[in-house]
Every structure is written in C-alpha cells, then in structure tokens.
C-alpha cells in the first residue's frame, strides 16, 4: 500500500529522517518503533504531506505522493491520528467526528454508528466540547475522527500514550478490529511490546534510520530489541 524509498526529511540543518526505506503491506498492521526523537512522527508527517521530504520517494498504491499537498494526499484515502491527539477543543464530539468526514458528501450515519460502537463513551458525550474530554476520551475521539474519512490507510502516532494500562489493551484490540474491516494500519508506538504483538511487520528506527525490520514476532524475540525497547 505504501512504499517508502530513501526518504530524507530535514528541519533546517537537523536531519530527522536519513534515507529510510520500508513497505506497508496491503491489509496488514505495520509498526514503527523507536526511541524519542528517532524520527517516527516526522516520517508519518512526510507521508501525509505536512512536511516536504528533502529527497526520496513515497508511493501510495504505486502512485508517487511525496511532497504533494496534504489535502490531495488525504483525499486519496490516507488518514493520520496525530501525535498529541489534536482534537478541536471548541468543537463538540459529534462535530469533531463530522469534520473527520469533511471530504465526504454521502451519509455519515453508518460511520458514526460504527465509531460509537467502537467507543460507546463518545456517544454518551457527543454534545460535549472536545477540549473538555479526558485524555483517554480525546484519544478515542482522535481515532474515531480519523476513521470518519473511510481511510484505506490509517496511520496512528502513539495512540496508547498517556492511557491507563487497561485502556491500552482496549485500544490495541480496537486497532485489530479496525484492521479486520479492511483498513491497512501503520502504527507508531512507544509501547513496543504491545505494538509488536499486534503487528504483522515491524520496523525499528534509531536516529533517523531503520536499523531492524521483520515480522512482529521475530522482533519480539530479537535480543537487541528486547534489550533496547522491552527492557528484558
């Protein structure tokens, strides 16, 4: 679905991403793990056009999207749950969901119902302003909002950040459920254990480079990964 080739991204003189290549296979769950500042968020931002790559290729279903305008990329079927949720604080929960479907002109009812069935809490609070939700509720809303565009590829930047352990496992089972509906997933996570258990394919990023890759299971068993990210 996504093929990244030799992607480089700079912020001024800072080289945040230094020539990475990876694949996000159709229909699967892929994960990008790595320490703080490794360049994970930067990679996701480059894929959805919020930052222009310095060089390299980003192919979406074979079509080059690198450096294109965000709205053009999003309208092809890519959706991002951004780092830090970025809920619209002055919009109600329902409006936040509706704005996720901004490019659609058809009926949103089924999708809203689906999101409510994934996150019943959002239905209870549909009238509440986004900014007044708890952190975990905001995370649910951010995921729900991203689903409203009916994406082919859903990218999530640390969806488990700041959530209670019980909710974290909920989020991961919801990620699997979304994936089972045919949505390809690219997951960026600090929680390497859960991410690798959930993912079909994993990539390990260190200071702007991909240093390891393999199936989720093989990375879980890899000694270097265990030492660096799983603390065992």
């Amino acid at each position: 679905m996504i093929k990244v080739e030799n992607l480089r991204v700079n912020y001024g003189s800072i080289e945040a991403v230094r020539g990475i290549s990876f694949d996000v296979p159709d229909g699967g769950i892929s994960t990008l793990i790595g320490a703080n500042g490794a360049g994970k968020s930067t990679t996701l931002k480059a894929i959805c056009g919020l930052i222009k790559p310095a060089s390299g290729e980003i192919l979406f279903n074979g079509e080059s999207i690198g450096g294109k305008d965000t709205v053009a990329i999003v309208s092809k079927g890519i959706s991002l749950v951004p780092e830090g949720r970025k809920i619209f604080a002055d919009l109600t929960v329902l409006e936040n969901l509706k704005i996720g479907a901004y490019l659609r002109k058809d009926s949103l009812k089924d999708d809203i119902d689906w999101v409510y069935s994934l996150f019943p809490r959002l239905e209870e609070r549909h009238w509440q302003l986004g900014g007044t939700l708890s952190g975990g509720e905001q995370q649910m809303l951010a995921v729900g909002r991203a689903l409203m565009s009916r994406p082919k590829l859903l990218m999530m930047d640390e969806p488990s950040l700041g959530l209670a352990p019980l909710i974290v496992s909920d989020i991961f089972s919801i990620i699997k459920e979304i994936n089972s509906k045919g949505v390809t997933i690219l997951l960026v996570e600090q929680n390497a254990n859960m991410a690798l258990k959930t993912a079909d394919v994993g990539y390990v990023m260190e200071t702007g480079e991909i240093t390891l890759s393999g199936s989720g299971q093989s990375l879980l068993e890899n000694d270097a990964v265990r030492a660096a990210y799983l603390g065992t």
Partner: protein
C-alpha cells in the same frame, strides 16, 4: 447643560446610538474574523471599506444602476476585493512570521489609499442620495431618518445569519477548525486557503454594508474616508474581545452608545467625540486586556 435635556432628545440619541452601533458592528466583525483566522490586524480593512463606497458611487453615478442593484453589486465586488487582497498580499506569506503579514497589510492599506487619490482623485465626492433611506419620519414629536430604523434590522439579520453560518454549516465548522489549528484542519481535508478566502469575502462584504450605512449617514467620500471608522471599529473589536464575533457586536454598540451619550450629557465634550474610542481602548487594555467576551487563554500559535 443637562437642564435642556428633553425626553425627545434622549430618545433621538438612543436611536442614533443604536444606528451608529449597528454600523460599527458591520465593520468590526471583519476585523475580528480576520484576526480569528490569521491572527492578523488587517490594516487594509478600512480601505476596503473606503473602496466599497466608491463602488457604490460609480455604480450609481456612472453605470446609472438603481440603488438596490448597485448596493448588491457593490457588496459582491467588495467581497471579491477582499479575496484579491488576501490572495495577493497575505497568502504568499502564510509560512512567514506574523509581523511580515502585518507589514504587508499596512502596505496594502497605503496602496489602496494612494490608488484612490490617483484614480478617484482626492477631491471629495458626494455619496449618492437614496431618499428611501434618508427621508425623515416623525413619530410623536421625534424625528428619525428612516435609515436609523433600518440599520439595526440589517445588522441583526446579518449577525444572526453569520452566527448561523459559523455554528451550523460545514464551511462554518471548517472556519472554526482552521482558526485553531491549520495542520490538523489540513489533515481533515480542509483546504485552508479556501476557508481563509471565504473569511475575507464575508468580512469585506459586511464592511461594504457598513460603508453603505456610513455613506447614507455621512454622505462624503474621499480616499481617506475609511481611516476613522476603521480605527473605531478595530477598537470596538478589541473592546469586545478580538477574534470573538459576538464580542465585536457588543463592542460596537458599546462604543456607539458611549460616543452619543457622552455628547448628549456633556455637550462641552462634543468636539472630543472621536477621542472617546481611544480612551475606551486604553481603559479596556488596562482593565481587561482580552476584551469583554475575549478568552483569557494565552495565544498558542
């Protein structure tokens, strides 16, 4: 002084204050909307106001259009002017520091004023009379210009319509989202340039309605005619809490009432009338810097 005050004078002044406030509101909304979405004090707004008066003038005097058509055409033309100013002077600076955009708006303001002097000439013109608005009605022993009865109605309809647009429609939702966070708005598929253009078009069209009210009330046009009403309406927007549309309306009526009532009760101060706005500005900045309805929240952008 006060012993001369009659009920008639008082009622007349209230009517006058309401109509002046209605006019200020139409122009103040444009300042507040542009600030809300670009965090920019749009210095060119007062000159868009001025240009719209010339649009009405030429549409009626040269194109000989009847006033209702001329007014509508002028409102539309002013909307287009707002879009053009934004696209030419502000859009190329989208990634630039805010101070650059501010300087650009001052530049556009001077450009339009000088354009006015060269093309329309600096000689004062007469705003075309429209008896339907300027004729006088007598209620009891009180004389009103019809205008002062219509103005609050026009403003009320415009404000209700605008609030509906912003609170209940899809483009309004996009405007609210864009004003908070460009990046996330883009991720939703919102074309922020379209949203910003729409904001300028609406603000400019409302300024044109305000300019028509102004022209009917004070029928003189010259290239600097926008400066004083522009300043006062900017102050009204700040008093109400810049970025907040209801605030701009509240600030506008408050300023209208202050100006008219101080002159009514203390006629000796009438030659300082234009200074009241600035005194109010200083007072509000000292007492409640975020304005009456403004949020206290620090500017995140």
């Amino acid at each position: 002084m006060i012993q001369n005050l009659t009920t008639e004078m008082f009622i007349q002044s209230v009517a006058n204050a309401i109509s002046v406030g209605s006019l200020y509101a139409m122009v103040a909304i444009g300042y507040t909307m542009v600030y809300g979405i670009l965090r920019l004090i749009n210095f060119a707004h007062s000159d868009i106001f001025m240009m719209s008066m010339y649009f009405v003038f030429y549409l009626i005097t040269i194109f000989a259009l009847p006033w209702p058509i001329a007014f509508i055409a002028a409102v539309l033309a002013t909307g287009v002017l707002g879009i053009v100013v934004e696209a030419a002077a502000y859009r190329p600076l989208r990634e630039a520091p805010r101070i650059s955009v501010l300087i650009s708006s001052i530049g556009v303001s001077y450009l339009m004023e000088n354009f006015g002097v060269v093309v329309f000439s600096g000689i004062q013109k007469q705003f075309p009379p429209v008896p339907a608005f300027q004729s006088v009605v007598v209620i009891g022993s009180i004389y009103f210009q019809k205008l002062s009865l219509y103005m609050p109605v026009v403003t009320a309809i415009s404000v209700v319509g605008l609030l509906y647009l912003i609170d209940k429609t899809k483009i309004g939702m996009a405007m609210r989202a864009t004003s908070k966070d460009y990046e996330t708005a883009k991720l939703m598929g919102i074309n922020i340039n379209t949203v910003i253009s729409t904001t300028f078009a609406i603000g400019s069209m409302l300024a044109c309605v305000g300019a028509i009210m102004w022209g009917l009330k004070y029928p003189k046009i010259e290239p600097y005619v926008g400066i004083m009403p522009g300043l006062k309406c900017f102050i009204a927007a700040v008093i109400g809490g810049i970025g907040n549309i209801k605030g701009a309306v509240v600030g506008a009526y408050l300023l209208g009432f202050m100006e008219i009532m101080i002159v009514l009760f203390i006629p000796a101060l009438s030659s300082y009338k234009d200074a009241f706005a600035f005194i109010m500005l200083i007072a509000i900045l000292l007492l409640r810097p975020a304005g009456i309805l403004g949020e206290k929240k620090a500017d995140k952008v």
